[in-house]
Amino acid sequence: MTRIPGWFTYVGAALCVFCILGAPVAESHESSTSYLKLDARADGSLDGSLDVGVLDLSWSVPLDADGDGRVLWREVEAAQPAIAGLVADRLIVERGGRHCTIHVTDVLVTRHVGEPYLSLPFVGRCEALGLLGIRSDLFFNEDSGHRTLFDVRTATGSVAGFLMVSAREWKQSPAPNPWATFAAFVVQGIWHVWTGYDHLAFLLSLLLPCALTAGRGAWRPAEGLKVVLRDLLRIITAFTVAHSITLGLAALQVVSVSARIIEPLIAATIVIAALLNLFPKAAPLRLPLAFSFGLIHGFGFALALSELAPVRGQIAALLAGFNIGVELAQLSVVLLVAPVLVLLRQSAVYATRLMPAASMAVAAAGFIWLGARLG
């Protein structure tokens, strides 16, 4: 190879061509990880577990006493005091500015990503109040690629994150103002409906026949404002109740559905709801359909919410805020459209031409979306 300083030849040998092929080699580059779980309760008690890789630990604590290249369970049991000492030494949990006590109570065997790990359950005591903090010095000095993934639970919620060589500490931040978060999600809910053309289209197809009644196979203007408003209220309530149910279930992760299923289904609901407006005989179905299709649209809202709020901590407030935003936006659409419909209903053209034409336009749009989402 090229002329190189004498002591560099060794490095030259180690730097084979395949090492310097860049990205492909990164395939196998997954550094060591430990996993810390912590539950700090309001009464000051603390418990959790620290899972450490057997290979990582073997550099800091002699685990292979007989030197046969294998770590046996009896060797681990014998090393338990040393392991507990290492953790007590290098892992610091504090609350309200004071160190918590930590006692490793056991050593168990587990696996992460196919690698052997020891799981070290621990208990401890902290100040009952104050912000929590973690600091770890485990393995960072010896292995700069090491990360400690943590999952901390407190009475106010849970936080996940990681510690690394250049950031070995984590401190709980003061809780954000819940009202500000709530308000932000109300705005997000409103925004989602106003900018989500598919929900607007579905709402429109529900609203279009609201100022009409079906009789003898044809649409005719509804008798009086009271009838119109009652019909409107029932339809909108059915839709709202239904989508609140599924939005809640999905947001609380009781159930989960894929966007691949829900998005085409939402387009299909638009096509069907709009086409049904062409058949006055189908009028009695509008209420059950508003409800059943509302269930589908709720999942659509949940998908939007899941993009906004991947953290589960404040989910109830977020869910309520988002849903209220959705309802407000829906109400604004009703308030905009309903007066127009009430005024138009007396015109003969509305029931016979305008409403069916608008419904068909909505159905056509829904059909195009359906094609795009299935294609």
Partner: protein, 446 residues
Amino acid sequence: MHVRRVITGVIAAMRTIAASTIALPALVASAFALSTLAVSALAVSAAAASAAEGAAPFRPIDPGFVVAELPGGSPRARDGSARQFELSRSDPQLAAQLAGTLLEQARTSAQPQLYGRAESVLAPWIARPAVPAPLLILEANILQQRHEFAAAIELLDRAIAQNPRSGQARLMRANVRIVTGDYEHARPDCAWLMGSGEQWTGSVCIAQVLGSTGQLERARALLERLMAGDAAVPSGQRQTGQRQTVQGQTVQGPTAEVLAWTLSVRADLALRAGALPEAQDMLTRAVSLAPTSDYARLALVDVLIAGNRLAQAVSVLDTTRPSAGVLLRRSIAQSRTHAGRTPDSLAELKERLNVSAQRGERTHLREEACLALEFPQDGAGSRHAALVLARDNFSVQRETEDIRLFARAAVDARDPDALATLKEWLRHSHYEDIVVDQLLRSGQSS
């Protein structure tokens, strides 16, 4: 009123259909079927547990239960390494030697911790204002493996400024630039290697640049001549790694690993020209020459999968401590062998990608993008998600696979912006790949 007549006509027609057929009941039935489908879809997947959960911890009953095999050898060797670790803080030569050994061990034994250990050895030195060039090169090697390409280039610039005759630094800098698609800046380093007696590595280097800048066939011919020249030396006289005189020129005979690398590059060029059998043959030879390297292995498996030789692909993938790339291809091969069944490797791959994401790393964008495209029902969901991953990956690295993934995702999602970005890049760089061209054409015709 013409429009009115048309609307009236259409409405009348719809009513006729409704009256004469079962359109209305069918509509209602399908409406209810849809909502039932949605509700039953709920049952499909309950909330998934966090990937960091791991297996349930247990206490072995047998004291002789083997908790782990230590690949690092005896504890005495480890103790020795710990002492060296301390000594390396004051001795740059020892630091370079130790880090080099750790990197080599990490590479051949698939022990990722050793990369971190090597970096720990280098850390106190890298923090200093004047760093010896060999240490800069070692650190750059670690950085580029973490896909921190810009930072790696910066260290290599410093190493080359210190020692302009460092072939390692030049080759590494050229390769990092080729991987990121910066072909024009790679060219001078390749030329330097050729001019400084490193004719073999220089030729492979420049062939990669030519092959990506509109001269694919010339690059293929260059490497064919290079290897033909090597083969021209009777095998009895030829020893790998030795200097030979071929046609009046002194040529460094390639080591097995350099030969494997050359074959991999040739195979890549052949694949982009559409010569699959030729590529397969070259990659098979490359794998046998460098069995510990994932690079040629994964490329070979891709060719086998493309040719639907799934059983053969699975057998090539049979390695211990599989990488994410191996797990991904196993999943693809398994899912194509047993359609409809979720491959076993998929869960392990997802767990690994999940942990990597939780570690705050973005080194698996390529695998994530491929996963989202290959297993849309299991991945992040939409085509848009696959495109975002493929585009992010393309912004970091631009090897054949990355460019193909981006093209596939852009065509799949029919995203005009992404397609325009890709076409503009192809036009500007004169990059050639028959598969990318086919993808883009299929995107235009659909």
